[in-house]
Each structure stands twice: as structure tokens, then as C-alpha cells.
């Protein structure tokens, strides 16, 4: 405050320096933003890990891992857990600040590559030299376009149609394998007075993107999907329209109340036998009572075109480090530990969620559900992440708008796709 000088020249000088963005966004904008990054303890040389794993079990699991790492003696680390929605909006601020935290939980794929292309991420190729056990698919999604590794995976999970085994037995129905069988299943469930397909779009509209992703990778294949999400294809392409034509075939079987409540309540609806099945990621189980989990099973998104190589959504969570870390060696030591069998097994055991460890030798939970999920991912020819992870968080709202509008007004699909293309272009252009 002492160097404040209201003279005009100095003032204009500051204006020119505005680009540095030292004060962040304008007050008009920052009025909406919440807290800045947490304190960074540089003096003690401790590695600070910013974590968005804020559910109580995941938070405790991370804290336990860090505690084990500190006991090991190869360095000291602290974990700072932040509510995930705050974390999402603040991550760019953390990374661009002058004195950033060292390590971050985040997603593999294009979101990480985007930061890497701005030289904000630490090259962790050394860490990967010790990760020979990891499959090539995980190495690929951890590698940026210039060929260096910038990400270390910890866990991934899968998406599928979850249902109650007891209900399917009661209704006398089987898991469908093909689209035709799927439609027959929907018809059967509807005739039994159940809403066949549960969904939860109120507050969590992004759940609809799973439908778009899966239909697109089943009809047009994963490579087209990735190109589309990278801005190399157009959303008003006839191939994209074909996706919605398929979707429309099953729209009448969606739970009409799904528009109004979030996926957590859609989970409750599934468990309360109000809906038949629910396309969701395994994280939904966090919102489910433990005793209900034994009755849950899932089936793979049905095959539409057998000629298209089978791809599955396998969002991968893990870590990247700031390029500006004051202690690269310590950060890499922690990353190496986080990639180890020991750390990942600790995480899997302590967290309640259904997740698969990234390390192939780390033991996943031995429930039949997890075995089935792991087998599905292992058999997939290609893995995709999820809409926002394969594109960007900035593109996600354009999908939310387009998809919720389609579910409401499927007749306007041409206009919706034109609008989607326009708003996507704005995001790609910046």
C-alpha cells in the first residue's frame, strides 16, 4: 500500500501492466470468485499437494497416503483439500500464481495437455522411467503433444448402466448386448410401470454428456469423437446428427423427473425401484447406502455398430506438478510414491468409492462389480475420458446447454446443433 502513487503517469503505467494480471480479474468479476490459493509453506521445504478429493473418505485416504510418505523419510509433504467446485474454478489461478503449490490432483488428457502447452506443468518423464509396469494406454494419456510426460495417474473408473439385480430378476429381464435388445428392454420396463432410464440433470446437467459420448463412440468411433471435441470436426456435421437420431429412439423411456433432480437423487430413485437403470460413473456409489451396493450390477453401453472398435469411458484421475515448483526433486519423489502399488492400495482400501488403481499390479477391491468393470476396460480397444476431460471445462457448458435442450425439444435438433457449433467455436477461439 505504501508504494501507491495516484499520479497519472504511474497510474497509466499500471494500466499497461494490467496484462500481468497480478490483481487477477476485475473487481466486478472477482466479486464472484472465492478464496485464493492456500498458504504455501516454502521455508520448511515441504511439498504442498492441492487436492480436490473432498469427500470425507477420499480426503482421509489422501491424508493417510501423505502420512505414510512422510514416515518413509524421502521428503515431507502436506495436503490441502479444497471443495471440488472451488478447486475447479481456482486451478488456473493456482497454476499461474507466482508462488504456486507444488502438486495438484487433476485429470489426464486434453485438460492436462492444455496447461502443458502453456508451460505450466513440470516435465515428469523421469518419474515415468520407473513406471514400466504401467500400460501404454495410460502412458499415452499422460504424455503431452511434445512427447514428454506431464501427468501421473492414480486411479480410473468406468461408466455403465447400473441396475438392481433383484429388480432385473423380478422383471425377468437380461442385460442387453445390442441396441435392439436395449430398446426391447426399455419397452418391457415401461410396460411394468417403471421409468426405464434414470437420469439426473438438475444441477448436474453434465451427466447428459455421458449419453452423447457413448453414442458418439459407438456410432462414429473414438477417433472421430476426440477430433470433434478438439474442434477438428463440426457439431452440425450429419455424423453428429446421427447420434441424436439414435438418442431420440430412447428419449421416451427417460424418467421425466430426471430433468429436475441431480444425479445423487437419480441414484436414490434407482435404489428405490422407481427407475430401471441409470447410465452413470461408479462415483454415484458414494451417494448410495452401503447395503444397497451388493444388489447393484451394471452392463456395458450396448453395441450399436459392430464394425466400430469398442471404446469405453475411463476417466483417469491423478496428479500433475507446477513447472514453478521450488523443489522439483521432492515433488517427483512424492509423485513416484503416489504411483506406487503401496500408495494406490492404501487409497483403494480407505476410499469408499468404486475405483480402479492405475498401477496394474495394485490390487483392486475384489467385489464382483469391480472385477467386471476392470475386465470391461481391459477388453476395450480404446479408452476415452469424458466430455470435459477430452475437450475442456470451457466446452462442457456448451454441451450442457445443447443436450438438455435436445432432451426437452428433440424437434429442434438442427437449430440446437448450429447453436452448439457457434458456441463451441467461441470457446475454441478463446
Amino acid at each position: 500500500m505504501s508504494d501507491f502513487d495516484p499520479s497519472r503517469r504511474r497510474f497509466l503505467g499500471h494500466l499497461g501492466l494490467a496484462g500481468v494480471g497480478a490483481l487477477g480479474a476485475s473487481s466486478l468479476l472477482s466479486a464472484c470468485a472465492s478464496s485464493a490459493s492456500g498458504p504455501v509453506d516454502k521455508a520448511s521445504g515441504a511439498i504442498s499437494l492441492q487436492s480436490n478429493l473432498s469427500s470425507p473418505q477420499a480426503k482421509a485416504a489422501m491424508e493417510k497416503i501423505i502420512e505414510n510418505f512422510n514416515k518413509q523419510g524421502s521428503g515431507r509433504a502436506t495436503v490441502n483439500t479444497i471443495a471440488s467446485e472451488t478447486y475447479r474454478t481456482q486451478l488456473p489461478t493456482y497454476l499461474t500464481s507466482a508462488n504456486p503449490p507444488d502438486l495438484y490432483t487433476w485429470y489426464a488428457g486434453s485438460v492436462a495437455n492444455n496447461y502443458a502447452s502453456k508451460n505450466l506443468l513440470l516435465d515428469v518423464s523421469d518419474v515415468w522411467q520407473g513406471l514400466g509396469d504401467y500400460p501404454q494406454s495410460l502412458r499415452n494419456i499422460s504424455t503431452d503433444p511434445t512427447g514428454k510426460q506431464i501427468f501421473v495417474p492414480m486411479t480410473n473408473y468406468w461408466w455403465g448402466f447400473f441396475y438392481r439385480k433383484s429388480n432385473f430378476a423380478k422383471w425377468g429381464v437380461q442385460e442387453p448386448k445390442t441396441w435392439a435388445e436395449f430398446i426391447t428392454l426399455c419397452q418391457t420396463l415401461k410396460s411394468k410401470g417403471v421409468a426405464p432410464i434414470g437420469i439426473g440433470l438438475g444441477d448436474t446437467p453434465w451427466v447428459a454428456s455421458a449419453w452423447f459420448d457413448y453414442l458418439n463412440i459407438r456410432i462414429n468411433g473414438a477417433p472421430f469423437h476426440r477430433e470433434l471435441l478438439a474442434g477438428k470436426q463440426r457439431f452440425d456435421d450429419p455424423k453428429v446428427k446421427a447420434v441424436f437420431a439414435r438418442w431420440r429412439e430412447v428419449l421416451p423411456y427417460f424418467d421425466p423427473k430426471g430433468k429436475a433432480y441431480p444425479f445423487q437423487e437419480a441414484t436414490t430413485a434407482l435404489l428405490a425401484n422407481k427407475t430401471g437403470m441409470f447410465l452413470i460413473g461408479t462415483f454415484f456409489a458414494d451417494a448410495a447406502p452401503k447395503d444397497a451396493l451388493g444388489d447393484l450390477d451394471f452392463f456395458q453401453f450396448p453395441i450399436i455398430d459392430p464394425a466400430v472398435p469398442v471404446a469405453e469411458e475411463a476417466p483417469t484421475d491423478g496428479f500433475f506438478a507446477s513447472a514453478k515448483t521450488a523443489n522439483p526433486a521432492g515433488t517427483k519423489a512424492l509423485l513416484t510414491y503416489l504411483a506406487s502399488v503401496q500408495a494406490q492400495e492404501t487409497y483403494i482400501q480407505s476410499s469408499s468409492g468404486i475405483v480402479l488403481p492405475a498401477h496394474p499390479k495394485a490390487k483392486a477391491a475384489d467385489s464382483p462389480l469391480v472385477v467386471k468393470g476392470k475386465a470391461m476396460l481391459d477388453n476395450a480397444k480404446e479408452l476415452t475420458q469424458f466430455f470435459n476431460r477430452d475437450s475442456s471445462d470451457a466446452l462442457q457448458p456448451t454441451a450442457d446447454t445443447a443436450l438438455t435442450k435436445f432432451i426437452d425439444k428433440p424437434d429442434q435438433i438442427d437449430a440446437i446443433l448450429r447453436e452448439w457449433q457457434t458456441s463451441a467455436e467461441k470457446v475454441f477461439k478463446g
Partner: protein, 311 residues
């Protein structure tokens, strides 16, 4: 906040006058100068400076990571052709009219009803004021339970036989905006009521006494005594309403996020999603500037009129 800026800077520019003769009377005490300058310095750093930066950012393309690129009025020309922005502008006008208008009418009505000291009046005042104490996010959670499928709203409609009206209140583009205005009003009426109650208390009872002596009935006293006496309060209420309308964000965000598909989008929520979700901070700043100009225009318009009438 920003609208107070000119007043503060004018005060500080006044400083010591050249007339040294009557030092005691004309030159403000150092303590007074400190009281003006220190807040001014703090405001400059935390308010004026970032606000000016906001204007600058609105002329740039900026993703928050790389340095902003200057693009002139590109963001503003884009705003002109942006259907979502037009929708948000219309919604903001609807919001200003309904939320602003109804909270003034409701608040004034409640204040008139509850101004007299009668038995139990304190209870009603407290009941109306309670929603003001809740954080808007808490309010939103309560109302979300109210609106949820098969929630209280649906049960009420079923109980009175109007089940054909039931719809996903917050997920239907036709009702979403109004379903959000209602909880905002529920809160604001209590606030406006308190402002008017204070204003009504300040009216000299002798004026009413005199009017009554002259044979004025209750309507005439309201029209010719109460309302003219409340002019000062009206200015405050209007400023509060306009500012609150234009910055209404939390309740909309907590209930609908501006959706479904932008149908309950206000300028403030669109600014937030443009800036912090689409990471188009330049574009978001341009929307913020529009909000600022709107607020300034409405309030300055009123203040100029009010001052002219005073003079």
C-alpha cells in the same frame, strides 16, 4: 459500490484550501484528512483500480492463463449479436421489474400494516425479516426442497386439486425464472419493509395530526403526507433494489445455474459462466461493464431527478 466512487473522490480532492486566514475554520483537521485519505487509498487499490482494470479487460481476449490480447471493441460487437446475452438482458429487465417492483410494493405495504404498535406486531415483523438473515444459498436450498419433484409445491397443488399444473418448476424453461424470483422476493420484502418502517417512524406525527385536523382521510394522508415524506427513503430503496437486482446471482446460481439452457440466465450469471466456466474473461468483463452502466444509468437517472426536485 462503484457508484459511490465519484462522491468519495470529490471529497478527497477538496483537501486544504488556499485561504489560510481562517485556518481553524477552513482547513480540515489532520485526523479528518486521514479519515478521508486512508479509506480512499484502500478503496483505490481494492475497488477503483480493479474496476478500471475490468474496463481494460473488456477490450481484450483473455483466458486467465496467458497475457490478455487487446482486441478493441470485439467483445462488445459480439455481445450485440449474442442471443444468450439478449435473453439474459431481457431476463434481467423482467427481474428488475418483478423483483424490484413487487418488493417495493410488498415491503411498503407490509411496513404500513405493521408500523402501528399493536399486540403481536413484533412477531410479524420478525417473521417477515427472518428470511433476510438467512444466507441466500441457504434460502435456495430450502426452496429447492420446496420445488423438487413430489416436493411441497407439488403436494400443495395436489391437495387443492390442481395437479395438472405440476411441472418440474426449476427445470422447465417456462417457469424457471419465476420460480427463482419468488424466493428472492420472499427475502427482499422483509428488507425493504425494514427500510420503510424506519422511514415511517421518522415522519413527524404532528404532520398527520395537522392533516387530520384539516379533514384529510386516510388515503389523502397517505398520498399527500406519508409518500412525500418518504422521498429520502425512496432514493435509498431504489438504489438498493437496482443494485440488488443487477447483482442477483447467488440465488439463481444455487437454484438453476441460469439453466435450463439459459432460460433463467441473468446478466450476472452469464457474466460468471462466460468468465469462469468458459474461461473467456475478456467477454465476461464486457458483460460486467454493461451491468455497471445499467446500474449507473438507472440510479443516476433517479438521483438527478430527485436533486432537481429538491433544488
Amino acid at each position: 459500490m462503484s457508484t459511490l466512487a465519484p462522491a468519495t473522490s470529490r471529497t478527497s480532492a477538496a483537501g486544504p484550501t488556499p485561504k489560510q486566514r481562517r485556518r481553524r475554520a477552513n482547513r480540515p483537521s489532520p485526523l479528518l484528512v486521514a479519515f478521508v485519505l486512508v479509506p480512499f487509498a484502500v478503496e483505490s487499490i481494492w475497488v477503483f483500480w480493479p474496476a478500471l482494470q475490468g474496463f481494460y479487460f473488456s477490450l481484450t481476449r483473455w483466458d486467465g492463463l496467458e497475457p490478455p490480447t487487446f482486441i478493441g471493441f470485439g467483445n462488445y460487437t459480439e455481445l450485440a449479436g449474442d442471443a444468450v446475452f439478449r435473453g439474459a438482458l431481457v431476463n434481467t429487465v423482467i427481474w428488475l421489474a418483478l423483483f424490484g417492483g413487487l418488493s417495493v410494493l410488498g415491503g411498503f405495504g407490509m411496513a404500513l400494516l405493521l408500523q402501528r404498535e399493536r399486540r403481536g406486531v413484533g412477531f410479524y415483523r420478525a417473521a417477515l425479516f427472518t428470511p433476510v438473515v438467512f444466507s441466500l444459498v441457504v434460502t435456495a436450498l430450502v426452496w429447492r426442497v420446496f420445488y423438487q419433484p413430489d416436493g411441497l409445491a407439488d403436494q400443495l397443488l395436489r391437495a387443492v386439486g390442481l395437479e395438472q399444473l405440476i411441472r418440474p418448476w426449476l427445470a422447465d424453461p417456462q417457469t424457471a425464472l419465476y420460480a427463482v424470483i419468488l424466493p428472492a422476493l420472499w427475502r427482499q420484502i422483509g428488507y425493504v419493509m425494514v427500510l420503510y418502517l424506519a422511514g415511517l417512524k421518522a415522519i413527524d406525527p404532528a404532520l398527520h395530526e395537522a392533516a387530520r385536523m384539516d379533514g384529510a382521510n386516510a388515503r389523502q394522508r397517505l398520498r399527500h403526507v406519508t409518500i412525500p415524506q418518504l422521498r429520502g427513503v425512496n432514493a435509498v430503496v431504489l438504489s438498493v433494489i437496482v443494485i440488488d437486482s443487477l447483482r442477483s446471482f447467488d440465488i439463481v446460481w444455487a437454484l438453476t445455474h441460469g439453466g435450463p439452457y439459459h432460460s433463467s440466465e441473468l446478466l450476472s450469471t452469464y457474466m460468471y459462466s462466460a468468465a469462469f466456466q468458459s474461461l473467456r474473461l475478456g467477454y465476461g468483463s464486457a458483460i460486467a461493464v454493461v451491468i455497471f452502466i445499467l446500474a449507473l444509468a438507472v440510479i443516476l437517472g433517479y438521483l438527478v431527478r430527485a436533486f432537481r426536485e429538491d433544488a
